[in-house]
Symmetry: C2
Subunit: 161 residues, 2 copies
DNA sequence: CATTAATAGTTGCATATGCAACCAAGTCAA
DNA sequence: TTGACTTGGTTGCATATGCAACTATTAATG
């Protein structure tokens, strides 16, 4: 905490705290971390697992590839999450009749129960958060985040860090 | 993609795509992933390393603990990032005179150079992104993200996922 | 002082992830 | 049909991370 950072000789200096990717990460981590307690502690699920489950819960049966497309999660991540969820008896696979490479994934009853439980908590969590932010803002932010998510990192392949 | 998901019997059903933590993550990942190319490809840095460096670059010399407080990054993560940056000759340590447990971290000249380079790119990246979003919005979103980051997940310890 | 309770950092271990290589089923064209 | 190419998924390996346990130093308390 000593010397004042030297100003960049040419333009303004870079300010981490105004850097959108940084802010987004902070915000994302804060919320995820907070909600993660639910699926981690109670169901021993990973974030990816929770996401896969949520997608299946929301959109119904579909193939791993579909999940990748929809959620922008990497192939291998999905593959492993699916394996784990299956092992837990939360989802089941069925080779697609049309394409024997593909596997149709669907939640089991147990899986649906978990989805409903976590879904409820998620709704509550989300509501509380938006409450604190103010509805108007919360609505706007949705739009912006969607935009960023969609085109913020165009050209690049999916998958987390 | 078969059966329509059964509506939750009680309240509305949970919609992943409207879930703030989810949206934040998507957005954060999209941007981080995009910008990460800079520090990863050119300097072989990890995101954590880049953040630590950015903090030191912005705020000047300080202790690892300070970095933790400021950036909300976990202890061990910082410890390792520091070790790595040191190995690369980008920062140097000096045991604090007041407290021999603490180490004062500061960027070396090389480190400052890297910071300036990446900082420039970050500025450019950020500007382009905000451009696409529209300045007005971008300003607002900053506020909201800060709020979320600050209190979105209060009560919880730092660290990623 | 002597003991006990923090605190700054590091390290071991188990897990999650990214990437590239790989297998198997499909497609396309000669 | 055969051979080249694409595509749905999985796996091996190296790396990044989280958590808990640990060292060294300082603070607090008797």
């Amino acid at each position: 905490m000593n010397d004042v950072p030297k100003q960049g000789e040419a333009g303004q200096e870079f300010d981490l705290e105004g850097f959108l990717p940084y802010l987004l990460n902070q915000a994302a981590e804060a919320t995820s971390r907070s909600f993660q307690a639910s699926y981690k502690a109670d169901y021993g699920m990973t974030r990816t697992q929770w996401r896969v489950l949520a997608n299946l819960g929301k959109f119904g049966a579909m193939t791993a590839r579909d999940i990748c497309r929809i959620s922008h999660i990497e192939k291998t991540k999905v593959s492993r999450a699916v394996a784990a969820l299956e092992a837990e008896g939360l989802l089941s696979r069925a080779t697609s009749p049309e394409d024997r490479r593909a596997e149709i994934l669907s939640l089991t009853d147990a899986g649906r129960r978990v989805f409903r439980d976590l879904g409820q908590r998620a709704l509550a969590y989300d509501a509380a958060l938006r409450e604190r932010l103010g509805q108007a803002f919360a609505t706007q932010i949705d739009m912006v985040l969607r935009m960023i998510a969609a085109q913020g990192g165009n050209d690049l392949p999916p998958g987390d860090d």
